[in-house]
């Protein structure tokens, strides 16, 4: 629908708020009716040292150590970080680089745990059954300790969002059950099968942040999940504080900012978080994990993964321990030969295409797709010149002008691109999806963002170098002056005139050039 018509409809109250643009890709939700199956333990689990947005973890275990399920094996370094836990009991066999789900195909240091089959559980964490009366700070610490990160795919550490801040009182908790990516059905199945747990999890979030209202947003292509959630809400909703909202299917409705706008009409200001407009948004999978962490005392060691794709004989939703190699999951569903196939981690609109199936399942793995070359070919054919049709601008959910941005990125006009708000791009892929010229617009944006980040790093480095160089020059200058002063003192036996400018320079120099002041064998002389 054209933007203006939509605005009109909104103003007349015929429609709720609706973000601009968006697309309707083919759904392919073939595994939607398949119940979640529990995947068997893998012989070896591989745990990359970073499974969230933020700083990587450092290992707490050594080769040969025996670990239990749920035992913390890597601790977080820095605030934006969460620890990693052993997915099952076994022995640490090695710690070395292993490929991860990253477009570069580069590896990451990972802990390899050889499964012993006992699946013995580490029971240090007690369930917090009376969570309703617990201190929110304790619950928050539990979320951090249990390694919770957004399971929708962005893996932002969950505990950071679960905060009470007087300046930004949270009114509404939004549960994101949109799952707008094609193929993926893990949230769909989770909502259908664990509606009650999710609802309790949401209550916990509400308690933690002090919110009064709760919304569970589900797209209308998941009627079973809607029914299940409604049933669960009806069964326990004595306060009438939680509502299930059915939204018309549109990609990228599941994107946090778009969802918030659709449900509340509020925009998260650029560079701010949803909490700044009184909202917290959590994925249903994360909410279920929060329930497990608090009510059962279980750290995050497993998640639901949709294994699907047009090249996979038996698409399924699997409950998988973290660290399970993707190859085993594909094999379980009947796919062994990967020649000519494309493996995608996540959904087709935003997921990474992998070099091969030899990556472990991590916290962000909401889906693993095996696509035939034909299914991918339409998106990756020869790029043709832009005919400026403007379809990308229409499809952009945040109202950027993608074709102009791509021109700027292509011709290295990065300042201009930043000026055109390149960094607000959420890389949802709508522009590339609709482009009649098959321009990989998102790829250009990623290139541009990378180049700008590189330039900024280089500039910061150059600025630091310049300061070091200047302080060094100042120091050399001062040493020369001192030497000259000493020489003149030796030559003239009269009392030297005090040099007034000296103490000042010495002071600034000591502060900036501590590295080398001791090495350059010039201790500032005692001086009257």
């Amino acid at each position: 629908m054209p933007a203006t018509l939509r605005n009109l409809a909104q103003r007349l109250g015929m429609m709720a708020h609706s973000f601009p643009g968006g697309v309707h890709p083919e759904q392919h939700k073939v595994s939607g009716a398949t119940a979640i199956e529990v995947n068997a333990l893998a012989p070896v689990h591989i745990l990359p040292m970073k499974q969230h947005i933020g700083a990587p973890c450092s290992a707490l275990v050594n080769i040969g150590d025996r670990v239990l399920r749920g035992q913390k094996i890597a601790k977080s370094e820095g605030y934006v970080s969460v620890p990693i836990h052993a997915p099952t009991s076994g022995r640490v066999v090695k710690i070395e680089e292993h490929p991860i789900a990253h477009p570069s195909g580069m590896g990451m240091p990972s802990i390899f745990i050889e499964t012993d089959g006992d699946d013995a559980v580490d029971q240090t964490l007690e369930p917090i059954s009376d969570w309703l009366n617990a201190d929110p700070a304790i619950l928050r610490e539990r979320a951090r300790m249990c390694g919770l990160a957004g399971l929708g795919g962005a893996v932002f550490p969950t505990f950071i969002k679960l905060v009470r801040d007087q300046r930004f009182p949270i009114e509404t908790v939004i549960l994101n059950g949109i799952e707008c990516e094609p193929w993926l059905t893990s949230d769909h199945r989770l909502m259908t099968e664990s509606a009650t747990e999710i609802l309790i999890g949401m209550r916990m979030i509400k308690h933690m942040v002090g919110a009064t209202a709760g919304l569970i947003a589900i797209e209308d292509n998941k009627p079973k999940a809607i029914a299940a959630m409604r049933e669960a809400v009806a069964a326990v909703n004595d306060l009438n504080d939680v509502r299930v909202v059915e939204l018309p299917t549109r990609y990228p409705q599941g994107s946090e900012k778009q969802l918030i706008y659709t449900l509340t009409g509020r925009e998260v200001p650029a560079g701010k978080l949803p909490m700044h407009v009184g909202i917290i948004c959590q994925n249903v999978g994360t909410t279920k994990a929060l329930y497990d962490a608090i009510a059962l005392g279980e750290p995050l060691t497993e998640r639901v993964v949709t294994v699907s794709g047009d090249a996979l004989p038996r698409p399924a939703n699997l409950l998988v321990r973290l660290g399970t190699p993707a190859r085993l999951l594909f094999a379980r569903q009947g796919l062994e030969d990967f020649t000519g196939l494309q493996i995608v981690h996540g959904g087709p609109m935003m997921g990474e295409r992998l070099k091969g199936p030899d990556i472990p399942v991590v916290k962000s793995t909401n889906g693993l797709l095996a696509l035939s070359a034909n299914a991918m070919a339409a998106a990756h054919t020869v790029e043709q010149p832009c005919i400026r049709c403007g379809h990308c601008s229409e499809a952009c959910p945040i109202s950027l002008t993608p074709n102009l941005l791509a021109d700027q990125c292509r011709s290295d006009q990065f300042d201009k691109a930043a000026d055109y708000q390149l960094f607000d791009c959420i890389e949802c892929g709508c522009c590339s999806y609709v482009c009649p010229s098959n321009i990989p617009l998102v790829h250009y944006f990623r290139y541009g963002k990378g180049q700008i980040a590189l330039t900024r790093r280089e500039q910061a480095f150059a600025e630091a170098s310049r300061q070091r160089s200047e302080s060094r020059d100042a120091r050399i200058e001062r040493e020369k002056a001192e030497k000259a002063a000493r020489r003149s003192r030796v030559r003239q036996t009269h009392a030297p005139k005090p040099d007034t400018s000296k103490p000042e320079t010495a002071k600034t120099d000591n502060a900036t050039a501590t590295n080398s002041s001791n090495t350059a064998n010039t201790k500032p002389e005692e001086h009257s």
């Binding site: 021109d407 292509r410 011709s411 006009q413």
Partner: protein, 193 residues
């Protein structure tokens, strides 16, 4: 009132100095590679052109004609323009070093921008009054500014086009300027003065 508007319109669109009289082509091509520079150049030229046309009118009326020195017209006008250009050059150097650097040689070259002298001479030839000569100068300057800024926008776009090597840069700019000129011919006859 109508006459003022028509004079302005005529100078801006119908008798555009660059695209229909083909005056001031040198800075038109030289300072149009970036919109920002073009805007700076436009303001500089507007300043010089408006003041030059009024000052030259005054000199013509109160110095040259009474003293019967019409043969010194060109020298006097150039003197006025040169002083104004010097003035604005110092001003820009002080206020905007980047613009100063961007305009480079074209800033002092406003002196020899034939459009400026053209306006001054056309003014006295057409027996304009003080007001109309000021308006004519301002209008001509606005016309220059308009096409210069439009052209700079276009050039920023063709800069990144994969044009054949033979046409890349100035040739393509000239072709584009030619097409603009053709388009501006559509205005011909719009204002009959």
């Amino acid at each position: 009132m109508t006459e003022i508007a028509l004079t302005l319109l005529s100078a801006v669109l119908v008798n555009n100095f660059v695209l229909t009289k083909f005056l001031g082509i040198c800075p038109f091509l030289g300072t149009s590679s970036k919109v920002e520079t073009a805007v700076g150049m436009s303001f500089a030229v507007m300043f010089v052109m408006t003041l030059a046309s009024t000052a030259s009118w005054l000199v013509q009326q109160y110095v040259l004609i009474p003293l019967d020195l019409l043969y010194l017209q060109t020298i006097f006008f150039i003197l006025i323009i040169a002083s104004l250009v010097q003035f604005i050059e110092m001003m820009i150097h002080k206020t905007s070093p980047v613009l100063y650097q961007g305009l480079g040689i074209f800033l002092p070259l406003i002196t020899t921008n034939c459009a400026v002298l053209g306006v001054a001479i056309l003014n006295v030839q057409q027996d304009q009054t003080f007001l109309t000569s000021a308006l004519f100068g301002a209008g001509a300057a606005m016309g220059f500014a308009l096409v210069l800024i439009l052209f700079a926008g276009l050039r920023e776009r063709i800069e990144i086009a994969p044009a054949p090597i033979a046409f890349k840069g100035s040739p393509l700019a000239l072709i584009t300027a030619g097409m603009m000129s053709l388009a501006f011919m559509g205005f011909s006859g719009l204002v009959k003065i």
